[in-house]
């Protein structure tokens, strides 16, 4: 017998499907070419196209910018089942995300878990409307893999904190409105115990940024400088000196994001590109080295997806999957780096094009360069392997 719930869900699916068909512009169903296709929102928001604007505003009106957050924070209030359906239906016709936002994927979950109600009311709605572009201030010039060694200090000045120091690898700090930051509030405590989690307005006096040019030729990251910046005390999230707890929680989300967990796969299969570029006999690739490399990559891609599914299913039965985010991050990014390296080999001379009328080729070469950062950002592969060996395998220190 069909329960009311499953019937409701069926209706929800049909309505959603119809709504998306009617409201998602055709050009917003094409795969993203590169970062210029992303909409980031923020105080100085600008749309790359009219369709992008229409799509964002339609979704905003529907409260589907963050469909699964509570409506009191501007979310859509969808149940996990409904949210799944919406995701599936968007994937089905290839809808782009209406906005790319670290506020949604990273800060939001941390605020939900650690912020006071007042802070939630203050910060979450501007995420769900895309009004605030958030960036993340974690790494420092001398605190990369050893993140907890960070030195940016926040001094207690009674009615405010005075922040001094610098951050590095801040994504889009030059464009962002606010930054969520790890700062040292106790220099005498063991390094993990003297860190706090602070939100800072990027327009505050004393904040400066400088873009970092990458080997891809692009500058998605910045250095961020704090020169005696006054930060109101109500911008502290969680308890003083307990920021590492929030940092770890948030890194779990970041690792899953970089590892590609839950991301749609709109990429063309590597073997398709190989068939278009390499010699074949009876429509089978004749390159005796690349062919098995492609097959191994695609086999591991397929099984990695099954693994995400399996671990999600196990988590529903109460198995704790927390430490596995390191596995996801490690495996997902290693796969991506292998994929980009293979694609470059398959594309021959085109795989080396840097500036050319062939814009697609140039863009792909730059993406290849960019991919080299995947196994470094968000904790290097080596850091992840260390976490697996200590937290999961319980190997001794």
């Amino acid at each position: 017998m069909e329960t009311t719930t499953t019937k409701d869900l069926k209706e929800f699916r049909l309505e959603t499907r119809q709504w998306l068909e009617e409201n998602c512009p055709k050009s917003m169903r094409l795969p993203l070419k590169d970062s210029t296709d992303y909409y980031w929102g923020g105080r100085n928001a600008s749309f790359a196209s009219e369709d992008q604007k229409i799509w964002f505003e339609k979704m905003l009106e529907k409260k589907w910018i963050v469909p699964y957050w509570d409506s009191q924070y501007g979310g859509g209030g969808l149940s996990p089942e409904e949210n799944n359906i919406l995701t599936q239906e968007m994937l089905r016709i290839g809808c782009r995300k209406p906005i790319f936002s670290f506020g949604i994927s990273m800060l939001g979950p941390a605020l939900h878990k650690f912020a006071t109600e007042e802070q939630k009311i203050r910060f979450l709605p501007d995420i769900t409307t895309g009004k605030t572009w958030w960036c993340q201030g974690y790494s420092e010039p001398n605190a990369g893999s050893d993140l907890a060694g960070l030195q940016t200090k926040a001094e207690d000045k009674d009615d405010h904190y005075l922040v001094s120091g610098s951050k590095v690898w801040t994504s889009y700090a030059d464009k962002a409105d606010w930054i969520f930051c790890l700062v040292r509030t106790d220099f005498d405590a063991p390094k993990h115990s003297g860190i706090s989690f602070l939100l800072i307005d990027m327009t505050s006096e004393g904040v400066g940024t400088r873009p970092i040019k990458l080997i891809s030729g692009k500058s998605p990251f910045c250095e961020t400088f704090f020169d005696n910046v006054r930060v109101p005390k109500e911008n502290l999230i969680g308890s003083l000196n307990d920021g590492w707890t929030i940092a770890k929680y948030l890194l779990t989300h970041e690792r899953q994001m970089i590892g590609g967990v839950g991301e749609t796969d709109v990429r063309k299969a590597v073997h398709q590109i190989a068939l278009e570029n390499l010699p074949t006999k009876d429509s089978i690739l004749t390159d005796g080295v690349l062919r098995p490399e492609i097959a191994e990559l695609e086999m591991n891609d397929a099984i990695f997806e099954m693994t995400i599914q399996r671990i999600t299913d196990e988590a529903k039965t109460g198995v704790n999957a927390g430490a596995l985010s390191s596995f996801f991050k490690y495996y997902g990014t290693e796969q991506n780096v292998t994929r980009m390296e293979l694609l470059t080999a398959i594309r021959g001379k085109d795989g080396l094009v840097w500036e050319s009328e062939n814009k697609k080729a140039a863009s792909e070469t730059r993406m290849f360069c960019r991919s080299k950062g995947n196994t470094i950002e968000g904790g290097t592969s080596e850091v992840q392997l260390g976490i697996i060996s200590k937290r999961i395998l319980n190997l001794p220190s």
Partner: protein, 373 residues
């Protein structure tokens, strides 16, 4: 369908683990080997039959349990952990699968009950070459007045010695591969045995104009390739289940060793060179778990991409079992290459399992062809 085992399947897995730890620990494997390579313990086989493991995948129509391959896979995984020797794979996974997928009702009615109660055993005779190649069948089945005459030479037959009957793959006059039941004591059948690296007994059998009746034909006309493929897929997925057990056990013993063994005044598991390699193995094993459960479920659901999943499973487990058993040997150091400890048994068994029903290269190629490259 969720990629997890059900409560019932979990119960079966736990009871299998408990039973094997008690009745068939790795020491039994060592004893059998040291008893002139005895193929298996007869008493254990009786107990396995009594527990119903031989009936798990047989249809209720023949008084089987119809419990499915996910269940059998859990048992095979546990048997992998303890390196338990029993003709479960040869007689049930191969023999019974050949019959279950046949439309020859008489053969099914006669044989399936005897396979389940363990009174008879079937061995599967397919390989003819040094390398696995299911397309390269030379053995012939020539039409005779009231049946066929089988001639050819088969090799690497698992549990071939002692089997009552062979399922023989032979090419008919029309050139199609077909499957036949051939009595092991029939005139013209001669058998020799070899012991392979895993201390297992593998038979080579010559069939010299062996007479079989028309009713001994398992596969229908035009259906031989499909049936053969079904057996190949089932075998690959079930082998992958056993390999998963070996991978998990060899890894777990190795991690324990890393926590105990001290050198330079520290436990060797504290050295990053070993930690990272252990973590890489952990990651690969996570993938192995996922493909094995996916493929077992697909086998029970009759999924239409079984070719793809079977090759994924056998390839992934083939690659990982090589990695893990090699690392297990290396991380155990000198003691690992002695016969005093058991870790070498896993390495030896792994190499044979890698080869059976197609190695990594075979299945990688089959996977690529499935996706048309």
């Amino acid at each position: 369908m969720a990629l997890i085992i059900t409560e019932e399947q979990k119960l079966l897995k736990d009871s299998a683990a408990e039973f094997l730890a008690m009745n068939a620990p790795v020491e039994q494997f060592r004893d059998l080997r040291d008893s002139n390579y005895k193929p298996f313990n007869e008493n254990l086989w009786k107990q396995i039959v009594d527990m119903g493991w031989t009936s798990l995948t047989i249809s209720e129509e023949f008084d089987g349990l119809d419990f499915g391959f996910v269940g059998l896979g859990q048992v095979l995984e546990e048997m992998g952990k303890t390196l338990t020797k029993a003709p479960l794979f040869s007689s049930i996974v191969l023999g019974a699968t050949a019959l279950s997928n046949s439309s020859n009702q008489k053969l099914k009615e006669t044989w399936l009950p005897m396979l389940m109660d363990g009174s008879k055993r079937i061995a599967f005779a397919q390989d003819e070459h040094n390398y696995f190649d299911p397309t390269a069948i030379v053995t012939s089945a020539k039409k005779s007045s009231d049946g066929f005459l089988i001639s050819g030479k088969k090799t690497m037959i698992i549990d071939g010695a002692g089997a009552d009957t062979f399922v023989v793959v032979a090419r008919t006059d029309e050139g199609e591969p077909a499957l036949f039941m051939v009595n092991s004591s029939a005139k013209g059948v001669s058998l020799t045995s070899e012991i392979l690296l895993d201390a297992g007994t593998y038979a080579s059998v010559t069939f010299d104009n062996v007479e079989v009746t028309a009713n001994d034909r398992i596969s229908d006309v035009g259906n031989g390739t499909v049936l053969l493929n079904q057996i190949l897929n089932t075998a690959s997925i079930c082998l992958a289940s056993e390999m998963l057990g070996i991978v998990k056990e060899a890894f777990s013993q190795t991690v324990e060793y890393l926590k105990e063994r001290e050198q330079f005044g520290k436990r060797i598991g504290s050295y990053q060179a070993l930690q990272h390699r252990a973590a890489i193995m952990f990651s690969e094993i996570e993938l192995c778990k996922s493909i094995v459960i996916t493929a077992l479920q697909a086998l029970d659901n009759g999924a239409d991409n079984l070719d793809e999943l079977a090759s994924l499973a056998k390839a992934k487990l083939g690659k990982t079992i090589k990695l893990v058993t090699n690392e297990a040997m290396q991380m155990h150091g000198g003691i690992g290459v002695t016969d005093d400890v058991n870790i070498g048994f896993y390495f030896k068994r792994a190499r044979v399992l890698q080869r059976l029903f197609g190695d990594y290269n075979f299945h990688l190629d089959r996977y690529a062809r499935y996706h048309k490259y």
